[in-house]
Symmetry: D3
Subunit: 248 residues, 6 copies
Amino acid sequence: MKLSELTWPEVAAYLERSPGIMIPTGSTEQHGPIGLIGTDAICAEAVALRAAETAEAIVAPTLALTPAQFNLGFPGTISVRAQTFSAVVYDVLTSLAQQGFTRIYIVNGHGANVAPIRSAIHDAVHDLADSFVVRLRSWWDYAEADDLRRNFYGAWEGMHATPSEVAITQALGRRVAGAEEPPAPLSEAYLKDHAGDLHGSAAEHRRRFPDGRVGSHSALASPEQGAEILSAAARAAAADYLAFLKEA
Amino acid sequence: MKLSELTWPEVAAYLERSPGIMIPTGSTEQHGPIGLIGTDAICAEAVALRAAETAEAIVAPTLALTPAQFNLGFPGTISVRAQTFSAVVYDVLTSLAQQGFTRIYIVNGHGANVAPIRSAIHDAVHDLADSFVVRLRSWWDYAEADDLRRNFYGAWEGMHATPSEVAITQALGRRVAGAEEPPAPLSEAYLKDHAGDLHGSAAEHRRRFPDGRVGSHSALASPEQGAEILSAAARAAAADYLAFLKEA
Amino acid sequence: MKLSELTWPEVAAYLERSPGIMIPTGSTEQHGPIGLIGTDAICAEAVALRAAETAEAIVAPTLALTPAQFNLGFPGTISVRAQTFSAVVYDVLTSLAQQGFTRIYIVNGHGANVAPIRSAIHDAVHDLADSFVVRLRSWWDYAEADDLRRNFYGAWEGMHATPSEVAITQALGRRVAGAEEPPAPLSEAYLKDHAGDLHGSAAEHRRRFPDGRVGSHSALASPEQGAEILSAAARAAAADYLAFLKEA
Amino acid sequence: MKLSELTWPEVAAYLERSPGIMIPTGSTEQHGPIGLIGTDAICAEAVALRAAETAEAIVAPTLALTPAQFNLGFPGTISVRAQTFSAVVYDVLTSLAQQGFTRIYIVNGHGANVAPIRSAIHDAVHDLADSFVVRLRSWWDYAEADDLRRNFYGAWEGMHATPSEVAITQALGRRVAGAEEPPAPLSEAYLKDHAGDLHGSAAEHRRRFPDGRVGSHSALASPEQGAEILSAAARAAAADYLAFLKEA
Amino acid sequence: MKLSELTWPEVAAYLERSPGIMIPTGSTEQHGPIGLIGTDAICAEAVALRAAETAEAIVAPTLALTPAQFNLGFPGTISVRAQTFSAVVYDVLTSLAQQGFTRIYIVNGHGANVAPIRSAIHDAVHDLADSFVVRLRSWWDYAEADDLRRNFYGAWEGMHATPSEVAITQALGRRVAGAEEPPAPLSEAYLKDHAGDLHGSAAEHRRRFPDGRVGSHSALASPEQGAEILSAAARAAAADYLAFLKEA
Amino acid sequence: MKLSELTWPEVAAYLERSPGIMIPTGSTEQHGPIGLIGTDAICAEAVALRAAETAEAIVAPTLALTPAQFNLGFPGTISVRAQTFSAVVYDVLTSLAQQGFTRIYIVNGHGANVAPIRSAIHDAVHDLADSFVVRLRSWWDYAEADDLRRNFYGAWEGMHATPSEVAITQALGRRVAGAEEPPAPLSEAYLKDHAGDLHGSAAEHRRRFPDGRVGSHSALASPEQGAEILSAAARAAAADYLAFLKEA
């Protein structure tokens, strides 16, 4: 259930039976030559919406405008400052807690979101105390989804414009051809040092990754694989969310 | 064309032929007993997407989390502070200008957005100077759409959960029955004094408008009317946008 | 009564009989070759002070340092960021509400003030709830004053360095000669697209309006007309303020 | 010359011959039973305007809304947060430097202003580097004025609602009778520990100083003394300002 | 070499031969009944100082005041907001980059620091572009140190007031007796869900962990083990830092 | 007692007998050719720690990263914006007040800290009211210490890299030779106009004071003098702190 498609009396009735809500968080940034600008938002929203069908949860609007300064060298990227994004998350948590949504489950699709979301949670809990609990998951954190992407793509999963995320968007709609040559592979060190999208400046990032793929061979993606990964992630998210609701 | 569904090389090619982009802005707040929480975002996005088909424009992700503190007394409303929303708009303008989108056209669907958007434009222009121009329109500003809603609903259009916006959402999907009794009508003075959603606190607002309709008889809406209003607004938006691109 | 010229026991006594206060808001920016830098502040303050005589209201200090980045290309203009001005208004509202001034009436003289004032009200009401109510008027919103300026100057009223505001300052003191040639007239489109002082950068604004008049033929002003407009606006403001105090 | 009463071409001509400007800073807060709410602003503005006559300087609008939280327990006080006031000063310095006013002379009348003004200068110089120089003086810093107030009132000058500032406002206009009994005298320790208006909360401050006088016997003031102090301060300010303009 | 104990000409000479600097980041918060309030800062500083001896690096002052709101229920904890800490880190990065320290290596000792540091890096890189590179490591990230703590303490390492960090502080000075009973062990789920110190409010946290140990059996610590862990971490940090300096 | 070296139960026991805490505040900036970068922090921390021995007080971690933009032209200086430093102080005061430390005594060693600390106190008291009291002293404010430095160095004490502060650091550890020639002496006017470190930009400051000494003949310092000054300051601080605790 999308929050946006309910009336307020329907939300009021829902709150009688559940304090939970899901929030998808993505990005609006280049995803290589065949990946879509909205890939992270599309994936996170799809996982949340499917999980919410099983879990009978409400899904808030997707936060798609997030920090991605390192990709501003590629047309189509929109980046908001980390401090701005933290303020948005802080305000959303405040509204939801005040509304009675005391179990807030964030389904994330963009590595650079994790830090400002955590910062916002810290400050919101400081100010609002025990009025809500947040759980934060990136969809690739679910073992079921993670196993599949490792099986399908191995090291070619890479860091950005990954075949797994491209596959999910293909399963949901548009498929772009091209990029058949693999990108330069990433070193172990690069993977470790830049986890969480700790990349350099827009200019440096484009110099280093000229077509936008960061060690990811996007062209390995297929819609069938995407459907499988999406199902696995959604099943895991639903189960995890339901367990979250049951915690003391 | 949704920005989120393009690849960056497609955006790069687009920028070769056009510096324009549309941004829909809505809200996530109660819209009375039969209006959807996402009404303002749904309407603004639909107008922009249809106009963009005609105008061959790119449409950025909809800004759906915006200031609506007066509606926090109704479950399902999410409000971000005006200062936070201004920061988001500021960052989006900065990214777009830097990307080469120098003609930015905002299609708005929520009265309370106008002030923080204007504030953000002021400060962004101060800091970034002549690198971009913004045009801001609420979809009911277009004479064609405004005439229709006046003809269809007269004074029952009201201020919030208006039959015209409800009609547009009905034309696009879900239709909720109920609320057949009209709300209390608004005085001329109320309309003037509270334009731009200059309402009181969440508690006061719910006391005054117990079912969330602010002088609007939502139940007068029909999907057919909605389709007509939407078409009119989209036509006008396309023409206005194209004229905007041509300005010196 | 100027707040600045009262003692605190006098204010305490006033608050026993009235919860109302007026705040004039202006600007400090160029007003063309014969208009004064302080025109907007002078006009708003004069309207408020005269209205306050009739309405027996206290008038707070005039907020004269406000957003006007588009005029920074003309010497003498001082602009504060919209976000800064919002913070000032937020703090002033907070102080006044805490002091017992729960009916706050803003008399505005500068188009660019409206957006940040509205943003500040939104956030202050969110945080302080039902502790106060604000009414915001620009002096030209009063029908009596608006009619006069239309009658006197027609389309030559324009947008900035208007003969009506220049006339009011002439009625109050200094009259500068010159600028006898009319400026370039504004198109309908310009008037609509730039309402609320949604102008471009300082450099662009000066290029487009080289002597600072934005479609306004300031030289049509006379002190007699100014006195008439001021009286009309002050009468209307007093009546409107008294009605505001009586609202439930 | 008040900036507010000049036209922009007059300011442009002035800047040909001088880079200097004066800014008075005051407050809007209780000043005891016979002192005016605007005392600090009235004094600072008067000193600046008289000095400016001698020095042929432009005087910017007075900053009268400043930090005074400790006085919010007394009706009529308006306090803006120190961080807000710093932001205003930062923006004003930025505008003036950009306009060509590179020698900015602040005439202060309120102890609590000094800290946030200094903070703002620090950050503005960091960001704008050598584009301007600021000199900050409180009017009682001038030896000529300080000597007079010590001679006239000795220890009864105290810290707030001082006879010297009350005298200046009497010289300029309104004189309120009363408060003939002296307040409790301040200890040396209190004077030292609370310099710069480092007072406690509004509630604590009112408890400790029930009529608002902080060790100051305001009733010792006379208009004649006020005129003398004002003249002395203005002469000193003019000389100091002219010396400031001549510094390398 | 501590930066604080050098003269500026010594720093200038250092910058001739190296662009690197280390910054330790810790916390000021309860660490259970026998752990010191400054544990995280003491550990991070010790690792950095020892590594710097080997690597001939300068070590900046330790950032010891950081976000820890969840521990405010225990006396002695000081927490700064995540947004404040991000601002500090942003400013420090800006100063260092401007000074010529273009390779900045952060040695962290507090889980909750990671998110606001990452946010600050994102925004600083956005604003300052390619002028510096940051590497962020928590000392337990080094395999050599991590292996030791797993070998010594197994699951009793836990999350907070860990025997490994207590052991390091014992090796450096003070050893407090007590807490011989183990705390309640943590579930796998708790470890995963609260990684990065994503804890609840101060009240909730103290209720859940009444003596401040979060699954960590601090009393297993010995100074000898601490010395061993510290050496291992320092060796790894030195090697990692030197490799960082050599990266293109 | 350093807070960082206590356990939380020890802090809890302390709070049973005392509500007081000391906070040293310094800087990280050049101190001339023979002064240490950390001079201000080293001095403030030493005074506080020694005073705390006598007064049986807890000493919080030293705030060593503070505003010093004017020294950024000298390698090794780190400056945080005044607004950032104010935010840190605000948060620290908030934590301490909430913890039961209601008598907060700041021992300062850097002139530019005074303004942002005062601003932070103003805003924290506004928000937190009577929950705490702050006393702010720079160590040279104590008459005993001030007399010594005047006797030892007279006018050569100057403003920055003063022999007295250099002497204290020598007494505590490192002594650097050199700078035997005196710097250019300061005029009375310079001393007055730039008190509180109201200096110009980094570039200007380095131009004017090429080796970083601001009128101070650092080489006059000896460790013996330093020990004497430190003892005097610490004795005075202890007495002043104890008196502060006893105030109503």
